[in-house]
Amino acid sequence: MSGLEAPRPFAEPWEAQIFALVVALQDAGLFSPGEWADALGAAIRPADAPERPADYAQWLAALETILGTRRIADGALIDGRRDAFLRAAHATPHGQPILLENDPGSGGER
């Protein structure tokens, strides 16, 4: 058996998605590797809690901070789009791809 059999790099598809977003944005020059390491380093050291693993949930948090600082997407915009995806998922039969256009809209809620 080879000692090179590393575990799969991503435990779940969303981990691969957030990883790819961060690398693509660096490739596009939106932020540098140094800025990214600083943002991730800050995300894993909350003021009021013990230090956290530098896992992909923290990648998400660090990316949101950068996007907010750069005024590319703020929390409210992301929350709104997240809710749309949650509604779309709800309206999508199990096993079908979850597409944003299947969002019945927030107006459908009561």
Partner: protein
């Protein structure tokens, strides 16, 4: 929602966890605003899931074991030597390769977050990104090595290398004894991921 049909809502609808929905939201917003291209995202995932990994680093190590001139170039300036083998890319722009010797064992950590030499080792294992390793590698390297089942001779010094966004370290482990007759490809199969981080040693030949 009109007609609260629990059976319909929960048995037949799909589910996204809160984090899945949030990542999808970011992705769709960034695509919509033109910051990222979906095809580029797919290509990145394909690359890091299937192409980049410690088998790349193992090729570098095996080459250094059989080719003294390459070893010298690798230790003098890691990045161009690694590029000679067609290996490179993000996370490997400034590679420093540190050589284990009978006197010195090298151990790599990122105390800030999880900086890691992606082109040669792939993406870091979970333990590399966790607070205990980040902290203990520096204050108790021998204890960390013991946890990994590695015991070094008492006289061996341990040097810690703290990876950063700019500089990523990789360990060149010592060639195992009894491998004089093995070719480069066979030698590469003895190189483990952990031996290139410093938390392991290469496998012994069979």
């Amino acid at each position: 929602m009109p007609g609260h049909d629990h059976d319909l809502d929960h048995s037949h609808g799909s589910e996204l966890s809160p984090i899945e929905a949030r990542v999808r939201a970011l992705e769709s917003l960034l695509i919509e605003k033109g910051y990222v291209d979906p095809a580029a995202l797919d290509a990145l995932i394909e690359r890091y899931e299937h192409q980049v990994g410690p088998h790349n680093g193992a090729r570098v190590v095996a080459r250094a074991w059989v080719d003294p001139a390459f070893r010298e170039r690798l230790l003098a300036d890691g990045t161009p030597a690694i590029t000679e083998l067609g290996i490179g890319g993000r996370g490997g722009e400034h590679m420093v390769v540190v050589e284990n010797t009978p006197e010195t064992h090298n151990l790599v950590v990122c105390t800030l977050c999880s900086c890691y030499p992606w082109p040669v080792l792939g993406l870091p294992p979970v333990w590399y990104k966790a607070p205990p390793y980040r902290a203990r590698a520096v204050i108790d390297p021998r204890g960390v090595l013991a946890d990994f089942g590695v015991t070094l001779p008492e006289g061996t010094r341990i040097t810690i290398w703290d990876s950063t966004a700019e500089t990523r370290f990789m360990v060149l482990p010592m060639r195992p004894e009894g491998t004089e007759t093995l070719d480069e490809a066979t030698l590469a199969t003895l190189v483990t991921r952990d031996s290139m981080i410093g938390t392991g040693l290469p496998q012994a030949p069979r």
